[in-house]
Each structure stands twice: as C-alpha cells, then as structure tokens.
Symmetry: C2
Subunit: 229 residues, 2 copies
Amino acid sequence: MSRSSSDIVNSLRKLISDGHYCPGERVAELHVAEKLGVSRTPVRLAFRTLEQEGLLQRAGKRGYVVREFTEEDVQIAVEVRGALEGLAARRLAERGMSEEVAKRLLECLHQGEELLGKGYLTVDDIATWSDINRRFHGTLVASTGSQVIQDAINKNNHLPFASADSIIIDTEALDSEYHKLRMAQMHHRLVYQALNHGEGARAEMLMREHAYIGLRYVELLGVDPIATE
Amino acid sequence: MSRSSSDIVNSLRKLISDGHYCPGERVAELHVAEKLGVSRTPVRLAFRTLEQEGLLQRAGKRGYVVREFTEEDVQIAVEVRGALEGLAARRLAERGMSEEVAKRLLECLHQGEELLGKGYLTVDDIATWSDINRRFHGTLVASTGSQVIQDAINKNNHLPFASADSIIIDTEALDSEYHKLRMAQMHHRLVYQALNHGEGARAEMLMREHAYIGLRYVELLGVDPIATE
DNA sequence: CTTCCATCAATTGGATCCAACCAATGTCTA
DNA sequence: TAGACATTGGTTGGATCCAATTGATGGAAG
C-alpha cells in the first residue's frame, strides 16, 4: 500500500503537530523520508506545500525548520480568522441566504441545542460538537460562492491553533467547557438571526467576536463567577 | 547560468500572468520544463507552490490547470485585502507606532505630496507612486510584528488583481488616474492621522475603504463630475 | 450505427543517481 | 598559540529512469 501524495503531506503535518519535530528544529529530507518509508522526492514536494501553509520555514538558503509561533501569532491568527469569517458573514447577509444554506445552518443549530440541552457535557460530546461546529462554519464560508475567501481561511486554519474547531482543550474541566459551548451555540444562533434579517454589519461583528471564544472566554467561564483580569 | 528554485516559481508565475498559459488551460510538466530549460523536477516543485498560492488548480486526479477567476473573485480578493490590512492598521493604532515606523510612513506621505503636488501625472510617475504605495502598505503591515498576518496578505496579493499596487491600469486616462491617486494619498494621510492618535476603529475602517480604490473609485473620478451608477 | 471493451500512448509520480554547496574539523604556517 | 586554508563528510537540488494510472482511439459485437 503506497501512500498518495497528499497522504505524505498529512503524515508530515501530523509528525510536526505530534511533536516528532519541535518548533525551531531542522527537518532533513532524508530523515523524514525514511521515517515515512518513501523516497526523498515526495518529501521535497511536501516541504513546498507545508512551507506555503506556514508550518515550515526556510532555514537560510538551505533546508527547512519547523516554524515556531509566539503568543502574539496565536492571537493574530484568531483575529485573522474572525476578520475573514466576518467578511463572509457580511456578504452572505447582504446577498441573502439560499434556502439550502438556511436549512443546513438551522440543522446545525438544532443539533447544537439537542447536544447541549441535557445540561452537561461528556467527553464523547466533544467530537459531536466539533463536527457541528465545523459544518456551521464550513457552510457559512462556502456559501460566499467564491473560492478566494475559502482559500484564505483554509490557509489560516492550517495553523494548528487557529482553526475554528480547536476550541476544546481541557477535558478535565468539562464544566467550564460546557458553558463555553453554550456561549458558542448562542453566537451561532445570533449569527443566524442576523443573516436571516440581512443585517450585514451585525453578522460580521458577531462572527469576529465569536472567533475570540477559544481565546478570551475561558477566563470568564470558570467556576468562580467573577473571573480574574 | 542555472536558475535558482525560486526563479522557477517566478518565471512560471510570469508565464501565466503574461498569458502564455490561459485560464482554464492545462499546464503539462514537460511543456513548462522545456520552455524554461530545466528538468521536470523543479517544475513539479513550482507547481506545488503555485497551487498553494492559488494560481494553479488540480485538474481532477491528474495535472494542473491555470485557475480562472470570476468578477466576484476579484471583488472578494479586494475585500479580503481590505479586511486584513484593516486588522493590521487597528492593531498598530491600538499598540502605538514606534518612532521608526512613524518616520517611514511620514516619508511615504511626503514623497506622495511631492509627486502629486505638481497637479498632473506623467507615465513615469506611475512607477514612482507604485513604489511609494508599496512601501506605505508594506511598512504598515510589517509593523504588526507577526508573520501570520503578513503571510495571509502576501498569499492574497499573489492573485494578480488583488495586490495594493495593481491600482493603475489606464495609462490613457492619466487625468482621472491623477484624481484617483490624490484620493489614495488622502487616504494614506487619514490613516496616518488615525494611527498617530491611536484611533483603532477609524484606522481599520479607513484601510478597508482604501482597498476599494482600485475597484469602485474610478467610476466617480472621470471627466464627468457626476458619474454613472 | 452505436456502444462497450481493450489496447496503446502520454503524462504524472516515485526512486535513484549525480553534482554542487555548506559546514566543520584538522593541519600547517606565521 | 592562533588564524587561515584545505579537505572531507553530509545534505540539498537537479536530472534521469522506471512504474503506474489515465485518457483516447479503434475495433468488434450487438
């Protein structure tokens, strides 16, 4: 069973995100090649793709290193996603949703209500929410009609911390995570409402704020009702 | 004299934008290889890069075609740039400009005043403005401090119609182009003013509006003071 | 005459080979 | 003893070779 070209890219992406190659560390073609059991050629091709995605970075004139991200990078990546998804939402509101799009978004909303309606969160629910969330964002972005904005968002989402479904980390504190997801679900409902009424500016701002949910909301939703900072 | 790896990407990019390969047309590795006088290997590498940049698109399971863009794509690409540069401007306003950044932006403003102060436009002025404009936008975006937002903007700018210095097309109508550049210069000055006063929201909105200058302003700045539409 | 299957050509993808280059280490000389 | 130059090892980039897959064309059968 030989691996296809995009499999190599995915495998290498996984090797990096799993920490087999640390940020700042140099990645050698030969090393990756024999770790994946392929020749150097497909690895070199994958390097080009991952360089464009932003996970690899040229080391001087020779070879690549794993890109390292600062705390500021994480914050900006989230803001970039908010700006782009906000743009998509605004366009969608201004031009009107099709029946098909409205139906699919509503389905996400209903499934979200059902998932969170029971009042608490289990570890299995995380994957379910992730799927709902991905479909909501994916549908919204896809229905701008243009590939250009999708590409921009996809590129940003390749940064492991920037994508919309990298919200849940803490499976220990399912309590505060539950409150976060309730908040996210409310955001989704508000966005749908704005889209449905053609309120472009409101839809945009709601999506921009919604992006912060993985970044700034966790502090406010702990057990302690009056959070720090 | 052998061509370096990034030269190949640039050459191929030029071949495409010069129309040697038309939108929708299939590009074969071998064909490009012998046109550039290199082997297939570097061409395949370049294909990966250009695929990520959005200029090439996979054709089914086999090969690539030149990406074709709709009128809507052009509009969205411009809006995406506005959203991203707006984000950069907002951050810069909120965190404050360094002396160095302020100095470089001011230099662009002065050079712009000097260029446009004589009251008309020559064909030679176009390259000068393009340089000033590129430095203004480049300085602003670079001074966010994070590579992430620069990458997002750079990727968008690879679309030939989306970059900030693809404003000037019509060298016949230097009259209306002059008015457009005066408007752009005024935008730059307003943005600088907002940055200087720490007005984040204003800086952001000005940059977003400024992006439209190549798209919607030309209709309003013709010889006829009351334009159509 | 049309449709389906088979064979063949063309092109892509992967592996290997070769050359160029950067870096490091060791030796020689001042 | 220190600095500079040369040699060597390792890694990357390019070219060529081989295999596999796809698309097309032609022939045969219904």
